[in-house]
Amino acid sequence: MIHLQQVSVVYPNGTRALSNVDLHIERGEFAFITGASGSGKSTLLALVYRDIAPTEGKVIVDGQDIAKLPPRRVPYLRRKVSVVFQDFRLLPDKTIWENVGFALDVLGASRREKHHKVPLTLELVGLSSKAEDYPRELSAGEQQRVCIARSLVNMPPVLLADEPTGNLDPDMSWEIVQLLADIAGQGTTVVMATHDKRIVDRMGRRVVQLVQGMMVRDAKEGGRYDAP
């Protein structure tokens, strides 16, 4: 589903964020990306939803080389690839309900479809009572869960989660990760960047580790946060 071939990223200011990364993630797989702060996890995910283009190498998502994707095709890629952003990125002038619904609006979903799916998804992340509030009226952890709900609601083939539990307590974090694992079980490809050692160790799934933009480890099954 996601194939990075010899990918390097150098930002305009000269920072080398990724170096020669080769990564292949199959449909329905669940993979963790770990690495210290600034090691390139968010950059790697940004390549997949085409927020940045690789300086070198190929990025192939769902069989398509997206480095060469013309700008007007990018929105259609992004409808297949949902993202839980590290900094949430909710629309401040829309309620929680509308924020989650927006992911359906861009698909041209009907009012009925929205009224069916949005409450269901809010229920999943435990925010039914906050549906009519605005993002600024929520705690950080609640905002993070809204972002998770938005990325789930349109049942995307690919789900990227960038530190989705950074503002959640351990119990809630575990629930959310279970949720993501469930979705992966239903055929969605899930890639999650995280610092949460406990979760990674407990899940025992594939772990890709980055150090200063280089892929230093790819533990396929029963992966642990620290190299053994």
């Binding site: 700008p71 890629l77 609006d105 041209g108």
Partner: protein
């Protein structure tokens, strides 16, 4: 586009106007002020032009004939030119009567023929020549016609109040040109102001636009609410401009009509309807064009 999408976009635009009251106010005020100024310039220009042409239309060329000239031939020569609309013969006696009237000579004689006789006696002869009163098709051509007329044999002198006519023509031309220039400058300034204002509103909402892009909204999906918002604002600005300009103009027209009869303002329902329609059209174009141009720049990077 699906019906759901259209419904959603319309709702978005309307929410944009309501939620961003402040931003909308700025844009609407800008457009209204610009259109008021633009409209005032247009109205002033139209009226000056109208007055100048009214005055110029009354302008005639007087062609004095020599005593033994062939009037019919000269008349034919003049009417042969495309620029000449009319060339009426005015006899020397008729001219004399008019002159006497103009200087206020009071004679106890009502019969024209006998009046002529009396004045002729009084002055010891009629010093005035026969003449042709020539009207041009376009007042602009007066000097050219006069120059040509002078060359015709049998023409003694050509008079046309050079001073006044030429000044009026210059004024009319000047008004047309400067009105056009002012109008263009103001139009450009309006577009600039509206463009920067809308760009500012987009700048103020840059994070939201980026978020929408990241969630998979196409540029058109993001653009349309802004465009419609611009159109709404343009419309509102135009309506305000009309509400200010039309009553003000009508008041000015009444005031001038009562106090300064020699000034003659254009005031027909038809003209004012066209004018109002023009304002609305300008507002729409400004609003839409301003948004469109600003959006282009801001949405280029996906």
């Amino acid at each position: 586009m699906r019906l759901n999408t259209i419904e959603f976009l319309l709702q978005q635009s309307w929410e944009g106007v309501v939620r961003n009251g402040l931003v909308s106010l700025a844009a609407v005020a800008n457009i209204a002020v610009a259109l008021v100024v633009l409209g005032a310039i247009v109205l002033t220009g139209v009226n000056l032009q109208h007055m100048a042409s009214l005055q110029a239309e009354a302008a005639v060329i007087t062609v004095d004939l020599e005593d033994e000239a062939d009037t019919a031939e000269i008349q034919a020569a003049l009417l042969g030119r495309q620029q000449v609309k009319e060339a009426k013969f005015v006899g020397k006696d008729e001219s004399l009567l008019k002159w006497a009237e103009r200087i206020g000579l009071e004679l106890p004689e009502p019969d024209p023929d006998r009046r002529v006789k009396l004045i002729t006696e009084l002055l010891g002869g009629n010093p005035l020549p026969d003449s042709l009163c020539v009207k041009p098709v376009d007042p602009q051509d007066i000097p050219a016609i006069a120059a040509e007329a002078k060359k015709i044999p049998g023409v003694a002198e050509v008079r046309y109040g050079e001073q006044v006519t030429e000044k009026l023509l210059t004024l009319a031309r000047g008004t047309k040109i400067s009105g056009l220039v002012m109008g263009l400058i103001m139009g450009a300034a309006t577009l600039l102001i509206i463009g920067t204002t809308i760009r500012l509103t987009i700048y103020a909402r840059r994070r939201e636009i980026r978020i929408m892009q990241l969630v998979g909204a196409t540029n058109w999906f993001i653009r349309i609410p802004f465009l419609l918002e611009g159109v709404f604002q343009g419309l509102a600005g135009a309506l305000i401009a009309i509400i200010i300009l039309l009553p003000a103009y009508s008041y000015a027209q009444g005031y001038i009509d009562r106090n300064l009869e020699f000034i003659n303002l254009v005031y027909s329902t038809e003209v004012l309807a066209i004018f109002a329609f023009g304002l609305v059209a300008c507002g729409l174009v400004f609003g839409a064009a301003g948004s469109a141009l600003s959006l282009r720049r801001y949405l280029r990077v996906v």
